[in-house]
C-alpha cells in the first residue's frame, strides 16, 4: 500500500505503515517511524470521544487540517506494547462532499487525503441508542474496505429501556469483532484496548453488495438488526419527562434564559477575580524582573514587552476555561442541543442558527472565548458568519472606554425616573453593537456567505450523566490550543506594538519617570509619529494625533486607550474611574493653541469608533486559528474599520453641526 503526501508543493511517496511525514520543531518536514494508525469513526453523540479519551488518556494532540476549519485529533494508545496511533475522525452522519467534516473523513478513509496517510484500520463507534442509523453510517464506512472492529456504546441504555442486542450475532453478521462498551463506567475498555493494539489483524467486514443510497443502507441495517436486536419497549422516560419541561412553550424559554444568564454571569463576573489575580501576578513578576535587571532597553522589552504580553495572553484563560467547562458540561448532559433548538428561530431570522446564540452571548464578555465557541456550530458557513459578526458585540474591554468618556462628557441628567442620560448612552452603545451584528449577519448571508445545500438539523440526544473527565479534558484542550496557537500570534504582535510605542527612545530627563517624560517619550515613538501621520486621515472624525496614538495602542487591548491617553495628556492617574482623570480629560488643552483637546463631538465620535472597530489583535489571532487562514480576520478587520471610520465621521460632523447650529441659535 502506498500513499501520496503532497507537502508544500512537492509530492513524496512512501509506504504509509513505516513512516510518517511530520512538521518538526523547526518547521522542517521530518520522517518518523510509525506503528499502526487506527481511525475512530462514528456519529456525533455516539460516545466516540469517551472511547478516544479512555484509549489515549491525556496524551492527545489537536491540530487543524490545512485549509479548513476541521480539527485533527490524535493520540497514542495507552499502555500497549506496540505504538498504535489513534486518529479521532470528526463525528459525522454520512459522507457528503459539501460538509468539510464528512468530506475529509471520507478522503482519509479512502487514502485520498494528502495530509494524513490512510489509516491501517477503523474502529467504528456504534451508538447503541440508535443502532439503525449507526449501522447505516457503518455501511458507508465499510465500503472503504479497511480492517474494522465495532465498539457498541450506550450498551446499558438498550437494556435499561427493555431492549436487547445480541453482540455475538451482530459480530457474525458484520464479520468483525464487536465490543460492548459502557463508557462512563469504563466497562469493556480493557478488552477493546487489547484488541486495538493488534488492530492490523482485524478482518475486513463482509458486505455482499455495494450500498450507495440511504434506502439501501437502511434496508441492510434492518436485515442485520432483525437477527440480533430487540428494540427497546419504551422510550427513554427520563429524557421525555425532562423535555416536557425544558422544551415546553412557556417553561422552555424560561429555563433557557436562566441557563444563559448563569453562563453569562459566570464568564462576565466570576472570571474577573481570577483574571485580576493573573494580571496582578504578572505585574509583580514584571516588577521583580525589573528590580533584578540593569536599566536599559533589554529590561524594558522583557518587562513591558514580553512579560506584559504573556500576561495579556494568559489573562484570557479564566474566561476560556469557565466558558468551555460550562459549554462542554451542557453539551455532555444534552442541554446544548436543546438550547440550539429553542434559539434557532431567533437566530435563523438573521441567517445564523441556534448554536450561534451561545457564541454571541459569550462575546459580551470577550470575543476571544466567543469566537472559540463557534466551533460548536456544525455548519461551516454559519460558523464563519457568526465569527465575522462576533466582534461587534460589546465586550468588557470596551466598558472602561465608554464609562470614562461618558463620565467626562455626557451630562448626568435624569431623563425619566431612575434612567439618566449617561445610562441611556451606554445602553445605546450596547444596542448599536448588537444591532450591527444582526444586520451584518443578514447582509453576509445575502452576499459573501450563502448557505450550503446541506439541510439544517439538530439531534436531541438522551439526557446523560456527564463524564467529568471528558468535560475537563475538553476544556483543558481548548485552553492549551489558545495559548499555543493564538498565543504565538498575540505575543509577538504585542511585543511589536510595545516596540512601536517605545522606540526610538528619548533619553529620560531625570532618574524618575515623571508624567511629562512619559508623555514626551510616547510622542517621539514610532506610534507617535504614526499618530501624527494619520492626522489628516482621522481629522474628519475629530481625532487629533493624540487620539490616533491611543487607537494604535488599543490594538493590544481596547481598554489600553484609556491609559495611553492618560500618558499622552501627562496625567499620573491611569484609572478610568478616577475623578481627576475625568476632570483632566475635560480640561486638557493644546499647549500651543489653547483649544480643548477633547470635546463632546470628539468623545461621541471616539465611542462610535470603538463600537464598530475590531481594535483587538487577540480577536484577530483567534479568528486566524479557528478559520485556519488570514483571509477572514483580514476581511473582518477591513470591513469593521471602514464602518467604524465612516460612522465616526458621520457622528462627529453631525455633532459639530448641531453644536454650531445651537450655538448660533442661542
Amino acid at each position: 500500500m502506498r500513499a501520496t503526501s503532497g507537502c508544500a508543493g512537492w509530492v513524496v511517496k512512501m509506504p504509509v505503515e513505516s513512516v510518517v511525514l511530520e512538521k518538526g520543531e523547526s518547521g522542517v518536514l521530518v520522517t518518523r517511524p510509525l506503528g499502526l494508525t487506527v481511525a475512530l469513526a462514528g456519529s456525533p453523540n455516539s460516545g466516540k470521544t469517551t472511547i478516544f479519551n479512555a484509549l489515549t488518556g491525556m496524551r492527545q494532540k489537536v491540530a487543524n487540517y490545512p485549509g479548513v476549519t476541521v480539527e485533527e485529533k490524535s493520540g497514542w494508545l495507552r499502555g500497549g506494547s506496540t505504538r498504535v496511533r489513534l486518529l479521532d475522525l470528526p463525528g459525522i452522519y454520512g459522507f457528503s462532499s459539501m460538509n468539510p467534516d464528512e468530506a475529509i473523513t471520507q478522503k482519509i478513509l479512502s487514502g485520498e487525503y494528502g495530509h494524513e496517510p490512510r489509516p491501517g484500520a477503523v474502529l467504528f463507534v456504534l451508538d447503541g441508542s440508535s443502532p439503525h442509523r449507526s449501522l447505516g453510517l457503518l455501511a458507508s464506512v465499510a465500503r472503504e474496505g479497511m480492517p474494522m472492529a465495532v465498539a457498541v456504546t450506550m450498551y446499558d441504555e438498550i437494556a435499561a429501556r427493555g431492549g436487547r442486542l445480541d453482540i455475538n450475532r451482530l459480530s457474525r453478521a458484520l464479520g468483525t469483532p464487536v465490543f460492548p462498551i459502557i463508557g462512563h463506567r469504563g466497562i469493556g475498555i480493557e478488552g477493546l484496548k487489547h484488541s486495538v493494539a493488534d488492530a492490523a489483524a482485524w478482518p475486513v467486514p463482509r458486505l455482499q453488495r455495494v450500498r450507495t443510497t440511504a434506502a439501501q443502507r437502511a434496508s441492510w441495517s434492518q436485515d442485520v438488526l432483525s437477527a440480533c436486536y430487540t428494540p427497546p419497549s419504551h422510550d427513554d422516560r427520563l429524557s421525555r419527562m425532562i423535555d416536557r419541561v425544558v422544551l415546553h412553550p412557556v417553561s422552555g424559554p424560561a429555563v433557557f434564559l436562566a441557563v444563559m444568564a448563569f453562563l453569562f454571569q459566570a464568564i462576565f463576573a466570576w472570571a474577573v477575580p481570577v483574571m485580576d489575580a493573573f494580571s496582578g501576578a504578572f505585574e509583580r513578576f514584571g516588577e521583580w524582573t525589573g528590580s533584578v535587571m540593569a536599566q536599559g532597553p533589554l529590561r524594558d522589552m522583557l518587562v513591558h514587552g514580553v512579560i506584559e504580553g504573556a500576561g495579556g495572553v494568559l489573562v484570557f484563560m479564566p474566561q476560556i476555561m469557565i466558558l468551555f467547562f460550562l459549554i462542554n458540561l451542557l453539551e455532555a448532559v444534552g442541554y446544548m442541543a436543546r438550547a440550539a433548538f429553542l434559539a434557532d428561530r431567533l437566530m435563523g431570522w438573521v441567517g445564523l442558527q441556534g448554536r450561534s446564540f451561545v457564541a454571541l452571548l459569550s462575546c459580551h464578555a470577550c470575543a476571544v472565548p466567543g469566537i472559540m465557541a463557534t466551533r460548536t456550530i456544525p455548519s461551516p458557513s454559519d460558523r464563519i458568519k457568526t465569527m465575522l459578526v462576533a466582534p461587534f458585540m460589546t465586550c468588557s474591554a470596551r466598558i472602561p472606554v465608554y464609562t470614562l468618556l461618558i463620565a467626562a462628557f455626557i451630562p448626568d441628567i435624569n431623563i425619566w425616573g431612575p434612567f439618566g442620560l449617561q445610562g441611556l448612552v451606554l445602553l445605546g452603545l450596547y444596542a448599536a453593537g448588537a444591532l450591527t451584528a444582526i444586520l451584518s449577519a443578514l447582509l453576509l448571508s445575502k452576499t459573501v456567505i450563502r448557505g450550503s445545500l446541506l439541510p439544517f438539523y439538530i439531534e436531541l440526544p438522551p439526557y446523560r450523566w456527564p463524564t467529568m473527565k471528558n468535560v475537563v479534558l475538553a476544556m483543558w484542550t481548548r485552553a492549551k490550543i489558545f495559548v499555543s496557537k493564538a498565543g504565538r500570534v498575540i505575543l509577538p504582535l504585542s511585543v511589536l506594538l510595545w516596540g512601536l510605542l517605545s522606540f526610538p527612545m528619548t533619553p529620560a530627563a531625570g532618574p524618575d519617570d515623571g508624567a511629562i517624560t512619559q508623555s514626551r517619550r510616547i510622542q517621539g515613538s514610532f506610534a507617535g509619529r504614526l499618530g501624527r501621520a494619520l492626522e489628516p486621515v482621522f481629522a474628519p472624525a475629530g481625532f487629533d494625533w493624540r487620539i490616533n496614538i491611543g487607537i494604535v495602542a488599543s490594538l493590544g487591548a481596547r481598554e489600553v486607550v484609556v491609559s495611553t491617553l492618560a500618558q499622552i495628556y501627562g496625567i499620573e492617574a491611569q484609572d478610568g474611574e478616577d475623578k481627576t482623570f475625568v476632570e483632566a480629560l475635560r480640561s486638557a488643552r493644546d499647549p500651543e493653541t489653547g483649544r480643548a483637546l477633547m470635546t463632546l463631538p470628539t468623545a461621541l465620535s471616539l465611542m462610535t469608533f470603538f463600537v464598530f472597530a475590531l481594535q483587538c489583535i487577540s480577536t484577530l489571532a483567534i479568528m486566524r486559528r479557528e478559520t485556519n487562514t488570514w483571509r477572514w480576520p483580514a476581511l473582518a478587520f477591513g470591513y469593521m474599520f471602514t464602518l467604524a471610520y465612516a460612522m465616526s465621521v458621520v457622528v462627529y460632523q453631525t455633532a459639530v453641526f448641531i453644536g454650531g447650529a445651537s450655538a448660533a441659535g442661542g
Binding site: 454520512g94 441508542s129 438539523y457
Partner: protein, 91 residues
C-alpha cells in the same frame, strides 16, 4: 406514491403532536442532497414519525423517529410528505 390516499397525505410540518404518521416521500423539487441526509437520519418512506415538540413561533420542530429525536426547520419539513396512520398501523 401520493395517489393511494390523497386525502390524508400532508406535509410533515402540519402534522399533529403525538399522533403518529408514516413517511410517504419527498417533494420532487427538494434537493437530493438534503433528502439523502434526512433519509440517513431515519426519515425514510415507511418509517413512523411522531411530532414531539415545537419551538416558540412554530419553528423548528422536533420529531421522534426510530427512537431518536430529530429537529427540522419548517422550510425543510414542509417538503416531506406523511400519511396519518390508524392505530393498527402505528407501532
Amino acid at each position: 406514491m401520493f395517489t393511494n390516499d390523497p386525502g390524508s397525505v400532508y406535509p410533515l410540518d402540519e402534522m399533529d403532536e403525538r399522533e403518529p404518521s408514516v413517511v410517504c416521500g419527498y417533494d420532487d423539487e427538494f434537493p437530493v442532497e438534503r433528502r439523502e441526509r434526512f433519509e440517513d437520519m431515519g426519515l425514510l418512506a415507511g418509517e413512523t414519525v411522531r411530532r414531539l415538540h415545537t419551538a416558540a413561533l412554530g419553528d423548528p420542530i422536533a420529531f421522534g423517529v426510530r427512537g431518536s429525536v430529530l429537529c427540522l426547520r419548517r422550510e425543510d419539513a414542509r417538503h416531506i410528505r406523511v400519511r396519518r396512520v390508524g392505530s393498527k398501523d402505528a407501532r
